[in-house]
Symmetry: C2
DNA sequence: CGACTACTAACCCTTAAAGGGGATTTTATC
DNA sequence: GATAAAATCCCCTTTAAGGGTTAGTAGTCG
């Protein structure tokens, strides 16, 4: 059964080259090609493509917004970002929007064919430099040190992020309630926050990504 | 220039098969093979391999610990996890420990060869089902649904995780303080938590992983 | 030794948040 | 048009938390 594909790409030549290339193989059926994704919702609803190839830098509405719309309308459609950009924000916004793959245009179009194959098998095709960046986002957990917290402060902050109340922290560490409060005051001051909720939010947000 | 490789795998037959396979190609040099990673630090320091193939379920010290040690000792060594496990915790612990790839043993050993090639090019080879899970960790629209929060409740919970106080949330949404409190009561009840700090901790922890 | 930091602890006062009620209005949905 | 769900608002009471301040002890370092 051939793979049905829709292309969103505002560069006319590139888009038509892709269409011709894909049509030359019986494995693919191109259901449509567009130079913007203003109608992405309707297109996805009507065509239900297996795969969408999506440029990011589109006029009016970005390919990232388009991706979000398509995945909301039709979660089973796999979206492959196909773009020149490799800055972190575009990568992570795309993936958060639900993209299933991220291929750079500097690679040959044949890599795009591999990506289509991989994505239909449930994979997540990514250009090597993109995949490396994605992995790196799992590996940054060095923030505690940069705020120069003492051992005890780290301990208390950790319990705080587990949802412990001050009273519970005191009990857990076998120190007085007021001592915990003293530490918390110092922690808040070092983290430049004003309360425990902000501290928790800051720590958990910076730990991962 | 051939790729130098070290293997950690406690299944004798599998390990020796891999050694034989890799030695049959001039592209690879096997610097060593071990059935545990107790000496991982020394091995990495002495051999400085380009690539390590790492099983997870090793006796004494897990392959995840081994990966952490190797990456600390020798960050330029690429570590490929080669394992039967595909549960989320092992995947994410491995990646956080610094693994550069994650290949399932159910795939043929030839996929492992592709992975070695890809990882030496700076990529992040992953079996399709693993790559899909990694992507999912960026997406997380399951929380909102699974706890069945209303639109307003989601909005308020989001502001709460930004560190906003109840008063600020009320001001931001142009509704009364008591209204925000009503929503928060419902949110706490739905999330099975007792206060805002726990709610923030729960939301931010579950969003990623 | 004195200066410094981390850890500990306590005090007062104020504000924020939670827990428990109840009530009204809006908005979908059938 | 009835019903249910969501959103809105208000009361009172208790508890948790934050801000400010002070202070003793232990260990480190020049």
């Amino acid at each position: 059964m051939p793979v049905s594909i829709i292309i969103f790409e505002d560069n006319e030549q590139l888009r038509q080259s892709l269409v011709v290339l894909l049509k030359s193989s019986p494995e693919y059926i191109v259901l449509g090609d567009y130079n913007n994704c203003l109608e992405a919702a309707n297109i996805a609803r009507r065509s239900k493509p297996d795969v969408v190839i999506m440029d990011i830098d589109l006029p009016e509405k970005s390919g990232i917004d388009g991706t979000r719309i398509i995945k909301e309308t039709n979660p089973n459609t796999a979206v492959i970002m196909y773009t020149m950009f490799e800055d972190d924000k575009k990568i992570f916004d795309s993936l958060c929007a639900g993209a299933n793959g991220y291929i750079l245009k500097i690679t040959t179009p044949y890599k795009l064919f591999d990506a289509i194959k991989e994505v239909t098998e449930g994979g997540a095709p990514m250009s090597p430099s993109i995949a490396r960046r994605v992995l790196q986002s799992f590996q940054q957990k060095n923030m505690q040190q940069s705020y120069d917290l003492s051992k005890r402060e780290n301990e208390i902050l950790h319990l705080l992020t587990e949802g412990y109340s001050i009273k519970l922290i005191a009990y857990e560490l076998k120190i007085a309630y007021e001592t915990v409060r003293s530490h918390l005051k110092n922690i808040y001051s070092k983290l430049h926050v004003n309360c425990g909720k902000e501290a928790i939010a800051k720590v958990l947000k910076e730990k991962i990504l």
